[in-house]
Symmetry: C3
Amino acid sequence: MPVLEWLDYAGVAVFAATGALAASRKQLDMIGFIFLAAVTGIGGGTVRDLVLGEAPVFWVRNPNYLLITAAVAICVYFTAHLFESRYRLLLWLDATGLAAYSVMGAAKGLAASGSPTVAIVTGMLTATLGGILRDVLSGEPSVLMRPEVYVTAALVGAGAFVAATFAGLPLVAASGIGVLAAFIVRGGALRFGWAFSPYRSRPGRRPEDIM
Amino acid sequence: MPVLEWLDYAGVAVFAATGALAASRKQLDMIGFIFLAAVTGIGGGTVRDLVLGEAPVFWVRNPNYLLITAAVAICVYFTAHLFESRYRLLLWLDATGLAAYSVMGAAKGLAASGSPTVAIVTGMLTATLGGILRDVLSGEPSVLMRPEVYVTAALVGAGAFVAATFAGLPLVAASGIGVLAAFIVRGGALRFGWAFSPYRSRPGRRPEDIM
Amino acid sequence: MPVLEWLDYAGVAVFAATGALAASRKQLDMIGFIFLAAVTGIGGGTVRDLVLGEAPVFWVRNPNYLLITAAVAICVYFTAHLFESRYRLLLWLDATGLAAYSVMGAAKGLAASGSPTVAIVTGMLTATLGGILRDVLSGEPSVLMRPEVYVTAALVGAGAFVAATFAGLPLVAASGIGVLAAFIVRGGALRFGWAFSPYRSRPGRRPEDIM
């Protein structure tokens, strides 16, 4: 299935670039770039394969994915200083990877389980886990905790793909719709600050003030 | 085995509620509630299934677990502001989930490996991992690092279940003993501050002061 | 294969000791020592087995590994206060575990996949993941983010082992070369501050200043 393979390579490469940009922000050495790029690029897909019972995971079966993440990391290492705002670039690349991986994860989940619920969840997991690992490892405030929509974009992408597939559309069309839907939602959040109306709750107090 | 299935549903639902409460404290949107509820609710069981070689994991085989976490998250979204102290509620729900999952994890580990050591460890892992993931993702100080007993309660629950099983008690009785033992230990820690006598050590210095 | 089994026991024991030392720095109770020792000691090997499709993982098949981590944790509990600098000891033990596990992970990856690329990556993953889990769980600044070489040492060890194996050396010799190479690189970093020349980049700004 060449469409999904392309989405997979795109997701891995783009997330790897965000990992390398995070490494640049932390001033790591080149091996640190490669490591953080690899974890970010293949992390989401690895967990997806594991929970679906598809082990050995994709990059053990096809080591090209590892070579891609290394190549991307080295490119970023030598060019990151050229960009005015690495963090802004990181967020947009992250949005692209999120869109590709939400569809890719949903497609794999649907093929493995036949359940639309499982497909939507594996789509969300695949799309968000690489970025979460990157943020936790590099000590950034997690992209998950930012006010604009993020997980929602992955949900929209995976949901649109699943709906289009159940509506009988061919794989290429369903994938295109899913990727576009996720990218529009996340891109709108980045560009226009799209967010749900604030939850009426108050923020949490610190544990020490309560117990 | 209906007893264990009930324990599993209870563990998932209660941990999902703690994840949603953490999302409320961080003022996330509704999808953020569902995501954090799902990760917390199914995280421990997912790792348990993976290390025991039971992939695809339980929620891929039975997507009802996912629907439960989503339903719980939506309920919490609309009611969290009614509670005076969400953090205190979170801790007591967490204690209930810990008790249910320490037995559930031990039972699955015992069935898969036959080793009491493995059973106790899978019980501890299943019971503690969801809460650890929740704390790491939401940037809370980890419940693991709090002074009162926490992992110990999971150990007591799993150990009591394994001992009762090897003593020949039927599954229902052994499960009840395990759940009760874990809940008493963790509840006592929350209510009366039960803790081991402080370790005679001094706290660690900061890395910068040493190297 | 007794050489690899010894390396595995050594890696587990030494990483378990670093986990227990981290628990001592955080003044956890004895069960907290055992838990952090277990997660650190078996974390890297667990992920290695999962991605290679070797589930149930090694410590489910052979619970002795769990007993080793518990024994090490108890020893450290009663002796940690005797050391002048637990953090320095932790770093040197971590270097030993890194060396043992980079070879062990590469050997398992090579046996399972036949690909040198995969072998080097599983070597790096196995060697670094336990320490990363320890640092994330105990809230330390991750060893990955320190300026001296760390992941590079794991890469050198795994790479040297793979190169020596493809050059036709017997397993014992290839393992010895790999372990030594990794330890020299990481030890040099600890003792003499070996690091790559600083990346020409500037540090990252805070997200609030950009968006």
